[in-house]
Symmetry: C2
Subunit: 252 residues, 2 copies
Amino acid sequence: MSDERIWTAGLVVIGDEILSGRTQDRNVAQIAAWLNVQGIRLAEVRIVPDVTAAIVEAVDTLRARNDYLFTTGGIGPTHDDITVDAIAAALGVGVVHHPGALATLERYYESRGGLTEARKRMARVPEGADLIENRMSGAPGIRIGNVLIMAGVPHITAGMLDMLTGTLEGGRPVVSRTLGCWVAESEVAELLDTVEKAHDGVQIGSYPFFREGRVGANFVVRSPDSALVDMTIADLAGQLEAQGRAVVVDGI
Amino acid sequence: MSDERIWTAGLVVIGDEILSGRTQDRNVAQIAAWLNVQGIRLAEVRIVPDVTAAIVEAVDTLRARNDYLFTTGGIGPTHDDITVDAIAAALGVGVVHHPGALATLERYYESRGGLTEARKRMARVPEGADLIENRMSGAPGIRIGNVLIMAGVPHITAGMLDMLTGTLEGGRPVVSRTLGCWVAESEVAELLDTVEKAHDGVQIGSYPFFREGRVGANFVVRSPDSALVDMTIADLAGQLEAQGRAVVVDGI
């Protein structure tokens, strides 16, 4: 193993609608994939209800043990949007109206009925915060210290991630390559273990599936060292083929 | 508020494939919806990597503070399937081969190449555990104390949930009803807050969307008391209509 620095992020998904099963979360996968490209590993996710104490606990724990902490959800104008207050409480700072956010909201709502008190709620930020531009709708994202506060609606979060691209320090991106095989993973369990151990610094994940009436599996090799990934894939393919098994490059 | 007992569950999703963004999780929504019907509230989810210490920490915390703890993932035959060992460590018990699981696996693999050492791994359980039948494939789920260990593949987990239906004690199921309205949620934020406060024991969630070129929102009213939900929905509909807004029963 190299002693290369690994950059990590935690993510707190805030929302009763995810915990009730009403809404299928899309932000975990989207933020994870984006972080990979930045060279940052998503280390842990917590999904918590719209309850201040639950948000504070999760934010406090995950921001302390990661380089970055993302949150999604709860930054709208309604009574159940308590993310900003909870994060301010976790950070021990007050809540203020951000002048830049007020100006943005004023422009956005100029042709949409004006900036009401409820809408002004969306300009509230923890004291000392910067904004993350939201090109999709009025309410901006928020950045304070290592905490990045994003929208709950996935396409709005996607726009905020675009704005953040290249602004967070990370390490080498993790490279992954996949090999598929129409085999029950239990038949090659030992082989996978042996290949992983022979290539220090890679992880091999095994993802079985049942499709078209047959069992198969995809084997995903991951490492920040792309040469090592290629070498491991070649070794794995060679050993599977030596057993008379056909492999499918880039997975099934 | 009544002092009705609320039954809760935690869920630990185990798997690098979710944290890498490779796989879109489906188990959170599926387990949440199933729990609702059992009268159990999903209180928190943690998504952790295939790392023993991370699994142990999440399991320890969530099983202590909830009536039930579910896990998904990591119970297959390969080297990255470490859930059983991690949970046994969290519970301070050993790992044994369950005779019933061995018998099931033997039958399942009789026509599939036999029960190899790798496949026997799937019969390993924390000492003292019972099995949860898996009608989809060989490896059973596991139940020990208040911990329920489920598969990672969603349709296999679905089958295990079917087997568990009616076996977990819960409270009254939470009832939810939805009202849709083509309105920016910021225009009715105060109204929502007022209606929620007027009906003690309900929660109103506001879920905005942008569709067909227009903004709208769904308002979800939740409570274990269905009469209270109906009354709140009627009140909310009446107040929105009094403002001249059309409401869509059961949401948009």
